[in-house]
């Protein structure tokens, strides 16, 4: 539905902070310099001069184009007139006109941005351009902030922009999950590897030196990778090491890391691919969306007609017929429009479809039928625009009381929208101002969700990490990721593991030192702290001082590492799950910052709102990361 605007008022610290954040986002999201790999916003000829274009307007078949190209005294007049025509045609967001305005013109940039946002309230590029114009004006920071938020919210209503953003965000999420999970597993493996090398060397005998033992472990860990499974194969060995030598908490974190990697490699990557492929996979839906925004070209029209003809025979694609009906009404071919609507009305409860059909009936003079269809639409969902249309029908039948009641009901739902419609209606010299509704976004999203495959994209995304069978079979990958964690957890409880002493950091091995199984302290530290009578006082004092100095040194190192190395804070605090979350947050933040211009070129729909949206993701992920680091450091200090 149409975007509503509200007047900003009041002030406060929170708003000031929000305004500052918006300023940062706006500054960072400002369109970058063009590079060869990007598609800069093209700059077509600016909007037609206010007094020119009469000939072109007369030739234009479309009433929106006629309204746009007809001579006008000012931009605001042209905008209002075009807006009315667009609303009447069911085009709530007229993207082509907004692009024309954004690309240049005689008027000031602020005026053009405001007009663009008015004509295309669902186009994120237009809304963010308006936000930037308001910000540059300097006297309305809160209005700029609100407009920036509206630009971000517009992604949900604009199909093409939404898919572009969803694809980029999902790809970044996939990368973040995989990178974070791998980083977490790698750190657990790095901690476990020396012990594994020691114990494996003991088991095999031969008294091999530490580097040879480590080489053996590295070889074993790398075997799945050598078998063609790539980095994911190596990760399996690392997971096994971590699970064998980890604590219960670390094993839980490893299981979560394995799940994160799997989700990143399969569902998230698949979803990103489906988003990218959706428009190409269902060209009819893409054409319908383009028509809904007033930018259907020859190719789109041909697709819609072909689909509608096929739909008539098979009754399986009513979307094309519906859009053709809208376009027919837009071009004043009311008979054709009504003929296309009637087969679709049957048992439908789609309020938008009922409203649009009612509009045609009203124009054709079938007042009762129109009223009936409006009532059916309102029964499905009482929308202010439909109530407005119904009020117009009541006006047509001179039912003043019903008109007043219906209009009040519409105002109660959305007074601003009714005010806008009334204002636009005032421009019209002729009567019969009723508005079509846009195609329900849910309808298009559901259809595109079914259409996109995304497997090829996901496979390509996985290929560097999982080039083998694990990358091709999700179930096998899930089993392969779960197996080492599970087996490592079971095996870890049964073997005599060496480990670092919690006090002195020396290796404590049940075989070499006779240390107790899974004891946190080595025998020496146990004697030092729990059997002081078995020690020499002078030596004990010196040793305790040395250990205290070591602890302080490690504390300093851990604090430094916590600030510099993602995940180190959680590991140092003994909170491996937080370490995993921090790794994922950091990877997402970094990915969103680096890839803020999206994984594919912006098809001139997101504009500066695209980087702003992805930077918002980066800011949110950074905030989560900082929170995790701070809470981990706090937990470490209080431990």
């Amino acid at each position: 539905m149409v975007e509503r605007r509200r007047v900003v008022g009041g002030a406060g610290g929170r708003r000031a902070a929000a305004a500052a954040l918006a300023a940062c986002l706006v500054a960072l999201a400002a369109p970058p310099r063009a590079s060869a790999a990007d598609v800069p916003a093209p700059t077509p000829d600016p909007a037609p001069p206010a007094t020119a274009g009469a000939t072109a307007a007369a030739d234009a078949p479309d009433l929106i184009e006629r309204a746009w190209l007809a001579p006008a005294a000012s931009l605001s007049e042209r905008t209002l007139r075009t807006r009315r025509a667009a609303l009447e045609a069911g085009v709530w967001s007229l993207d082509p006109a907004a692009r024309v305005l954004l690309s240049g013109g005689e008027e000031s940039a602020e005026e053009r941005a405001a007009a663009a946002a008015q004509l295309a309230p669902d186009l994120p590029a237009a809304r963010m351009a308006n936000a930037l114009a308001l910000w540059r004006r300097g006297d309305a920071p809160f209005a700029a902030f609100r407009e920036a938020l509206a630009a971000l919210a517009a992604f949900a209503r604009h199909l093409e922009a939404g898919l572009w953003l969803a694809a980029s965000a999902l790809a970044l999420l996939a990368l973040g999950l995989v990178a974070g999970g791998l980083a977490c597993a790698l750190s657990a493996g790095a901690i476990a590897a020396p012990h594994a090398a020691h114990d494996l060397g003991d088991a095999l005998g031969g008294d091999a030196p530490a580097f040879a033992r480590m080489a053996l472990v590295a070889t074993l860990v790398g075997v799945p990778g050598l078998l063609g499974e790539g980095m994911l194969g190596v990760a399996l060995g690392i997971f096994a090491l971590g699970a064998l030598y980890g604590t219960r908490r670390e094993r839980v974190a490893l299981a979560a890391a394995a799940a994160a990697i799997w989700v990143g490699l399969f569902p998230a990557a698949h979803s990103a691919g489906r988003c990218l492929e959706a428009l190409a996979a269902d060209p009819v839906a893409a054409a319908a969306a383009a028509a809904d925004r007033g930018s259907a070209g020859r190719v789109e029209m041909a697709r819609l007609r072909a689909a509608a003809e096929a739909g008539a025979a098979t009754s399986d694609d009513p979307l094309a017929a519906r859009v053709l009906a809208k376009l027919a009404r837009r071009e004043a071919r009311l008979g054709e429009a009504d003929a296309r609507y009637q087969p679709l009305l049957g048992a439908t409860a789609d309020p938008a479809l009922l409203n649009d059909a009612a509009n045609v009936r009203l124009r054709l003079g079938h007042l009762d039928a129109a009223l009936d269809l409006y009532e059916r639409s309102i029964q499905g969902a009482a929308q202010p625009a439909v109530l407005f249309n119904l009020s117009q029908a009541h006006a047509r039948s001179f039912e003043v009381e019903a008109l007043t009641r219906t209009l009040e009901r519409a105002q109660a739902l959305d007074a601003e929208l009714v005010a806008e419609l009334t204002s636009v209606q005032g421009v019209s010299v002729a009567g019969d101002f009723v508005v079509d509704l846009p195609l329900p976004a849910r309808l298009l999203w559901e259809r595109l969700a079914r259409a996109g495959d995304g497997r090829a994209f996901a496979a390509e995304l996985r290929r560097p990490i999982a080039p083998g069978r694990l990358g091709a079979e999700p179930a096998l990958a899930l089993a392969a990721l779960a197996a080492p964690v599970l087996l490592g957890s079971i095996g870890g409880a049964r073997i005599d593991r060496s480990r670092w002493c919690a006090r002195c950091g020396r290796r404590s091995c049940p075989r070499c030192d006779g240390a107790a199984r899974d004891a946190e302290l080595c025998g020496s530290c146990h004697r030092l702290f729990f059997e002081p009578d078995q020690t020499q006082r002078e030596l004990r004092v010196a040793r305790v001082a040395a250990l205290e100095e070591r602890r302080r040194r490690l504390d300093r190192t851990a604090t430094l590492a916590a600030l510099l190395v993602p995940g180190a804070a959680g590991l140092a605090a003994g909170r491996p799950l937080r370490a995993l979350a921090a790794c994922v947050s950091f990877a997402i933040a970094l990915g969103a910052l680096v890839g803020r211009r999206g994984v594919v070129p912006d098809p001139w729909v997101a504009g500066a709102a695209g980087p702003a949206a992805l930077l918002t993701v980066a800011v949110a992920a950074s905030a989560a990361y900082l929170f995790l680091v701070a809470s981990s450091l706090s937990a470490r200090r209080s431990a």
């Binding site: 093209p42 746009w68 590295a218 020496s524 020499q536 040793r543």
Partner: protein, 366 residues
């Protein structure tokens, strides 16, 4: 901690220091720094408790003496060093706890170390001393301790005698070999000042391979007694200098050790070879596979998606141009974003054609 006595051995000889401590019945630690390093002597009411070179760890010198006497393996001493530092316990106590050395042997070697240390410092010509009066804990009966003056007298006597036989054994690095027979022992014992048992012990240790130092250490008699016995044996013609030892002999390796060494080499080499092979396999896998005729051309879906989205942007630009003027652009050349869109598609051309009712714009086929 108060300093009771400090000075140079040139000004105040070691004999004077000992006499002073003995007469005054002082308790504390005398630290000496000189040509032979740093040593520490502990006194309890004027009697000598122990004397040993100063090392990083307490009683580390005793551990070294155990190794020299071949009562403790060097690896075990290393382990004891680490353990002593970590567990705040002395090396002798840890060695006894682990059953590596019994208490009687420890006491014997501690006494030997004290004698050796004292005999060594008596031969110093220069150095500094520093006596700190402090409590000296020990578990030895006071009656068993020797007085400082008595030890000094014995030491001075030994030093006098040392001058007489030391030239027969000019260096501790020399290697002696036996040249006589055991049948001559009785006569030799009755003639000299050295006990027959001592002579026999030394003679048995002289094997033509061990250096004088090793013979001394293995005999556990101390430098003075062992060298004196060796000098006697040489004078009697029962032993003679064989050769100069080039370096300290390594511990003899038995068959089991050789087997262990072989297993260690295998255990070292095999993982490294495996890792090397794995690296070769990994490098081999990274080589790009050549395209084979007849196989489908691999497509990059991401590149296709980039081109597709660039084409969408271009279509929007064309649409905007049309909306601005009511005319469709004659070619993509007049659309400002076309060049960048071409770059995004890898330079592949877009299909663009004007028709009566609009235009056709298609992304490049990939």
């Amino acid at each position: 901690m108060s300093v009771a006595l400090r000075g140079n051995l040139e000004d105040f000889g070691i004999a004077d220091v000992f006499q002073l401590i003995g007469q005054q019945r002082k308790t504390g630690i005398l630290e000496l720094r000189g040509e032979g390093g740093q040593v520490e002597l502990r006194f309890d009411r004027g009697r000598v408790v122990s004397a040993a070179p100063v090392r990083e760890l307490a009683h580390e010198a005793l551990g070294e003496m155990l190794v020299r006497c071949e009562l403790l393996a060097p690896e075990r001493l290393d382990a004891l060093r680490r353990e002593s530092a970590a567990a705040a316990q002395s090396i002798p106590v840890l060695a006894a706890e682990r059953g590596w050395v019994d208490a009687a042997t420890l006491a014997e070697i501690d006494g030997l170390l004290t004698r050796e240390t004292f005999f060594a410092i008596l031969r110093w010509r220069s150095g500094a001393f520093d006596f700190r009066a402090q409590n000296v804990p020990h578990d030895r009966p006071f009656e068993s301790l020797h007085g400082a003056e008595q030890i000094l007298m014995d030491g001075l006597r030994m030093l006098d005698e040392w001058q007489s036989f030391a030239p027969s054994v000019p260096s501790e690095e020399l290697v002696f070999a036996p040249t006589g027979e055991l049948a001559d022992w009785d006569a030799l014992a009755s003639e000299g000042a050295v006990a027959a048992a001592t002579l026999e012990r030394i003679f048995r240790l002289v094997d033509g391979g061990a250096s004088v130092r090793q013979v001394i250490d293995r005999s556990r008699l101390g430098t003075f007694d062992a060298v004196r016995a060796l000098a006697e044996l040489r004078r009697a013609g029962l032993v003679a200098i064989a050769e100069r030892a080039r370096r300290a002999s390594p511990p003899a390796l038995g068959g089991a050790s050789r087997r262990l060494s072989l297993r260690g080499a295998v255990a070292t080499a095999v993982p490294l070879l495996l890792l090397f092979a794995a690296a070769l396999v990994a490098l081999g896998r990274r080589a790009p596979a050549a395209a084979l005729p007849g196989l489908p051309i691999p497509r990059d879906p991401w590149a296709a998606a980039r081109a597709e989205y660039a084409a969408r942007g271009l279509a929007h630009a064309v649409d905007a141009l049309h909306f601005a003027s009511g005319e469709w652009p004659r070619s993509l050349d007049v659309v400002p974003g076309a060049g960048a869109a071409m770059a995004a598609s890898g330079g592949a051309p877009y299909y663009y054609a004007r028709r009566d009712d609009g235009v056709v714009l298609l992304a490049p086929e990939r």
